[in-house]
């Protein structure tokens, strides 16, 4: 079974600074996808960024980028130039690369951006 671990229950950062959220996972699969989802307070969960395991290049999406270390099974999220709107719960998630795989989530990290 796959497991996803986020070891930081809470993080805080000053506006305009950079913060990195950690995620590790455990799987015997070679083909899979990794995701970071964001859940703002009382709002819908939305996708932040997605990484295919077969791609060596780290995914980036504007101010959001990942550091994907396949051998170490590590998938951290870096948020640059943090904004107040980045305040949210962030979830790391894993899915096998099949049509019928289920998504496994980590415990979540609450990120607070301070002005």
């Amino acid at each position: 079974a796959q497991t996803v671990t986020q070891s930081q229950p809470e993080m805080s950062v000053q506006e305009a600074e950079t913060v990195t959220l950690s995620c590790t996972y455990d799987t015997s699969e070679s083909n899979y996808y990794l995701f970071w989802y964001k859940q703002p307070p009382s709002r819908q969960m939305i996708l932040v960024i997605r990484q295919e395991a077969y791609k060596q290049q780290n995914a980036t999406e504007n101010r959001f980028s990942v550091n994907f270390q396949k051998a170490a099974k590590s998938f951290s999220l870096k948020i640059s130039d943090s904004q107040l709107g980045d305040t949210a719960m962030y979830f790391c998630a894993f899915i096998r690369g099949t049509s019928y795989g289920k998504l496994t989530f980590g415990q979540g990290t609450i990120l607070t951006v301070h002005p």
């Binding site: 996808y33 819908q44 998630a93 690369g97 289920k102």
Partner: protein, 112 residues
């Protein structure tokens, strides 16, 4: 845009009541999911459905059942609600080409 709609944002029920949580998606996705979100535990999968009339147990199915009679609708049923089922329930549908899940806004259930 994909839209996943959950019928109720907030519900308060009494112990022993039957509870229905409805979820509808408009993107013709085959895969749909019900998760439960609790502080410190993240999201835990209750049930999922590959396609109409197909369902699979997730990690915590006890006390729950589901129904998928139409492709766009996936219902979660609590046959006899208990206080330990007080939680946030999230429905999602999945784009099977990208693996991405699209979530509803969530249903916060309180069982008294």
């Amino acid at each position: 845009d994909v839209k996943v709609t959950q019928s109720s944002r907030y519900l308060v029920k009494r112990t022993g009541e039957k509870v229905f949580l409805e979820c509808v998606q408009d993107m013709d996705h085959e895969n749909m999911f019900w998760y439960r979100q609790d502080p410190g535990l993240g999201l835990r999968l209750i049930y999922f459905s590959y396609d109409v009339k197909m369902k699979e147990k997730g990690d915590i199915p006890e006390g729950y059942s589901v129904s998928r009679e139409k492709k766009e609708r996936f219902s979660l049923i609590l046959e006899s609600a208990s206080t330990n089922q007080t939680s946030m329930y999230l429905c999602a549908s999945r784009d099977k080409n990208t693996g991405e899940l699209f979530f509803g806004e969530g249903s916060r259930l309180t069982v008294l």
